[in-house]
């Protein structure tokens, strides 16, 4: 592979932390040399030049599966050349600005403004300002309305794209759902647009956007008018301004689709998967290969956005997974492979898959990493086999301290299951336990908060009781209790719920801290401020665009990094624009139109509402495998629920 030199001096590169982030040259990276030759000779190419942009640092971006999947899909096609770009860290950011050098791609060091299309993956809301940083450094106008015929088309996808409203003014296009097919359809339109430029009937950017609207799953924010009731809003009943703060989103013209329905891949077995992903030269956050096992989740925990937006549940076959696993190990050289899904042990043929992969890795010193193993189907035997050399800690996520609250959130874990699993684990020699909880969940009382401390204390007691029973000398037990803060997210049954005030959350945290007394139990908590801001962005609307723009221009970005997140400054800017935190953390009324109501994820609002009501009645909902609850996802005509005759 030809090395395209970095447009920076050696001393500049050497002055930054981890210069290897900015130079490319990774194994399995793709450069379409024929395109580069064509460009060199004629200055033009018929290839669609796509820059896959990750709005955080290289080490995080290179651990992202969406990046690897879409990079592979795009480069596999014969008309797209996809390269990668990441947010430069502050040291490099400064150098690029001082030297007036445009942010460039990893592969051919092409300035971002010279690409035909930029695709951002939005995995968390706190990266929004880094999108602005990348556009700015890439010398691209930040606002979609300011971009002209020669500017790249700026699009996004990923979980945050489902409520892209706060960022709607910055993106030309948002992709809803799984991108493997949609992204190529989009690139075909871009190609038509590009080729038309050298004909007598060049397409305009506006025509391109209208053409893209015809693709299912694609949302062109500029083709919609938005009213928020503080100005004028027609409620569902047609009454003007009745709704105190609800939103209203309408297509600007008749030809534009009213609802944007997310896309899914119906047959994962026959969908292309990157078995030769780009391998970073630099050690990254998750230094392993990823085998995606299935999409969707049968559980339906009511706080979990992923549990609803990725429905319906679609599994890959064991045969396909074993072959992909074999190739991944061979093509990457990683000594660890992670099985990826929302709940690995819910995979129907999980034991068979694990045994099979372990025998493939036999003698290779490759280990299998199993994140998100569920406690109630926990298999100690498998953990023994999997962690053949290292015994890491056990991680459980009961999420709430009492059974009552676990019923409210539909986390179907019973305490008996936790204790029987832990008994086996402690007998097997485990002595490190991590427990994850959330504070501020709907209906939470002090009793629920104290239940967390109580649960940890009883786990500690179990450990030493076992020591006494068996007469074994036990090593010191280490329990870590971590709490994060509940954040109501769009497309969940809790999307209407308020977030506790900061004062209330601080009080609950203190209460819990004061009741954890053992030296064996460590309490780790999550920062409040960023969780409060995350609600603003997650449930926000288009009124936030000027806020984000002003924040970025005053130097606020890298909000996902606690050291760089400046809550007070954000609140000041928010209030200067006539908005408050409360506008977004309040309880949303069930009657109002939500800012994201024009997007359909398959799971319908009626179902979410009934789940919300059941939560308040402390009633649980069975998993999709036990019983179809009619969420709406079976309308795709595929998936486990559909196969079982769900919603017939």
């Amino acid at each position: 592979m030809k090395n395209y030199p970095v447009p920076l001096s050696k001393s500049d590169l050497m002055s930054v932390e981890s210069p290897a982030r900015y130079v490319g040259g990774e194994f399995n990276a793709v450069i379409k040399e024929d395109m580069m030759e064509e460009l060199e000779k004629t200055g033009k190419t018929s290839y669609v030049r796509f820059a896959f942009c990750f709005p955080d640092i290289y080490e995080i971006g290179m651990s992202n599966l969406a990046l690897q999947i879409l990079y592979h899909v795009l480069n596999e096609s014969d008309f797209v050349a996809c390269e990668r770009a990441f947010s430069p860290w502050l040291d490099m950011d400064k150098i690029l600005r001082e030297r007036n050098i445009a942010l460039y791609s990893q592969e051919t060091k092409t300035p971002l403004c010279d690409f035909d299309i930029l695709g951002f993956t939005l995995g968390y809301e706190m990266c929004y300002t880094n999108v602005l940083q990348m556009l700015d450094l890439g010398k691209i106008p930040l606002l979609a309305k300011d971009r002209g015929e020669d500017d790249p088309v700026i699009c996004c996808g990923g979980p945050c794209a489902y409520n892209i409203e706060p960022m709607a003014d910055f993106f030309d296009i948002a992709m809803m759902g799984e991108g493997e097919e949609m992204i190529l359809e989009l690139c075909k339109k871009i190609r038509e647009y590009k080729l038309s430029k050298s004909t007598s009937h060049p397409m305009s950017r506006q025509e391109l956007l209208l053409a893209c609207d015809a693709i299912e799953g694609i949302y062109v924010p500029s083709l919609y008018e938005v009213f928020y009731s503080k100005s004028t809003c027609s409620g569902k009943d047609g009454s003007e301004g009745k709704d105190p703060s609800g939103a209203c989103v309408k297509p600007v013209s008749d030809g534009v689709k009213k609802t944007i329905k997310k896309r899914i891949i119906k047959d994962l077995d026959n969908c292309t998967y990157p078995t030769a992903p780009v391998v970073s030269n630099l050690r990254v956050v998750h230094d392993r290969s990823y085998l995606e096992v299935f999409r969707g989740c049968i559980r339906g925990c009511r706080f979990c956005q992923a549990g609803f937006i990725y429905r319906p549940v679609r599994e890959k076959s064991v045969e396909v997974l074993c072959e992909q696993g074999r190739l991944l190990e061979k093509n990457t050289g990683y000594d660890e492979m992670g099985l990826l899904s929302l709940a690995t042990s819910d995979y129907t043929r999980f034991p068979e898959l694990a045994e099979n992969l372990l025998s493939t890795f036999e003698g290779h010193h490759t280990s299998l990493s199993l994140p998100s193993l569920r406690l109630d189907s926990f298999s100690l035997d498998l953990m023994e086999k999997v962690q053949s050399t290292r015994k890491s800690g056990l991680t459980f996520a009961p999420e709430a301290g009492t059974q009552r609250l676990r019923d409210v959130i539909n986390k179907n874990i019973r305490e008996e299951d936790i204790f029987s699993a832990l008994r086996l684990a402690f007998l097997g020699g485990w002595n490190t336990v991590k427990l994850y909880f959330m504070l501020g969940l709907p209906t939470e009382t002090d009793e629920d908060v104290l239940g967390i401390a109580d649960l940890a204390a009883r786990i500690e007691k179990l450990y030493y009781d076992i020591g006494r029973e068996t007469g074994q000398r036990m090593r010191r037990l280490e329990i870590t209790v971590s709490t994060s803060l509940f954040i109501p997210k769009p497309f969940t049954p809790f999307q209407w719920e308020p977030q506790n005030s900061k004062e209330e959350l601080i009080r609950k945290q203190r209460l819990l801290k004061d009741h954890i007394k053992s030296r064996n139990i460590r309490y780790a908590w999550h920062d409040f401020d960023s969780s409060v801001w995350e609600v603003v962005l997650a449930r926000g609307d288009r009124r936030l665009a000027p806020v984000l723009l002003e924040g970025y221009k005053s130097g606020l970005f890298y909000d996902a990094w606690d050291d760089h997140f400046k809550f007070r400054e954000w609140v000041e800017i928010l209030e200067r624009h006539g908005l408050t935190i409360e506008d977004f953390s309040r309880e949303f009324s069930e009657e109002e139109t939500l800012p994201w109501d024009h997007i359909s994820v398959g799971v319908n609002k009626k179902f979410l509402l009934s789940e919300r009501h059941k939560a308040h009645e402390e009633k649980t909902t069975p998993s999709c495998r036990e019983h179809c609850s009619g969420c709406g996802a079976a309308t795709w005509g595929v998936g486990e629920c559909f196969a079982k005759g769900g919603e017939s």
Partner: protein, 246 residues
């Protein structure tokens, strides 16, 4: 199986015979900016992709048995560094080179390899000297001046503390660049576990004492051109040390 039993089993494994490939390699391009640990990981992964029968260390956290002659700092190119790779069986050196090269990231390349018996002295311990090429405007004048100095005191960081050190005794000899380039020099310097000088410290001393512009010094292209054993000036290239083939 309980953890304690497993631990016992692992330590009880008898020492496996190692078949060592002593390979020389070059690096250029993007990989120049990798730190030493990342560079090692790159080689490990390439060996795994090439499905070479590498031996792993024993114990809790087995690592591929791979030893580099001398760490290669960030920003330094090389045309001839060395590593020993332990395999579990005899392997043809040419096949080793060819197979590994097919799986290295661009910029890293094995030049040649020889199969040697398991060395008594680690490859790290035999290095005494390195040769370098520096390329920059005015480098010949500055380096000539440096060689004429009695001392070259620079500050280096050691264990989080600043330490003054004289690097002049570690510069062994200077010559014109082999290709006659007036803006390049070749020189020998002490290297290895006992006495070692990092190229960036040499460049630092040039800007401190020999009138070289700081920015020019920092932008100097640094290429390590060889590593040697035995005492200077009777040095021997590393690949000639264990000449007794398997």
């Amino acid at each position: 199986m309980l953890q304690s039993e497993r631990e016992k089993m692992m330590t009880m494994q008898e020492h496996q015979k190692a078949y060592v490939q002593r390979a020389s390699f070059m690096r250029s391009g993007a990989t120049v900016f990798l730190g030493h640990l990342d560079l090692m990981t790159c080689f490990e992964r390439a060996c795994r992709r090439a499905e070479l029968p590498i031996l792993y260390s024993q114990g809790y956290n087995p690592r591929p048995m791979m030893v580099f002659a001398l760490p290669l700092g960030v920003g330094i190119e090389t045309t001839c560094d060395y590593l020993d790779v332990s395999l579990d069986r005899p392997y043809d050196a040419d096949s080793f080179v060819k197979e590994l090269n097919a799986f290295l990231p661009s910029g890293l390349q094995i030049i040649r390899s020889i199969a040697i018996p398991e060395p008594k002295d680690s490859i790290m311990s035999i290095v005494t000297t390195a040769s370098y090429r520096f390329e920059a405007k005015g480098i010949r004048k500055a380096m000539t001046e440096a060689m004429e100095k009695e001392t070259l005191i620079v500050t280096k960081m050691a264990k989080g503390k600043e330490k003054q050190t004289d690097i002049r005794p570690l510069l062994l000899s200077l010559s014109q660049a082999s290709d006659g380039d007036p803006d390049a020099v070749d020189f020998y310097a002490s290297a290895g576990s006992e006495r070692n000088v990092r190229p960036d410290l040499i460049l630092n001393s040039l800007s401190l004492y020999c009138g070289m512009d700081r920015e020019v010094a920092e932008n100097t292209r640094v290429i390590r051109t060889g590593l040697f054993a035995r005492e200077y000036p009777r040095i021997v290239p590393i690949h000639e040390v264990e000449v007794r083939p398997l």
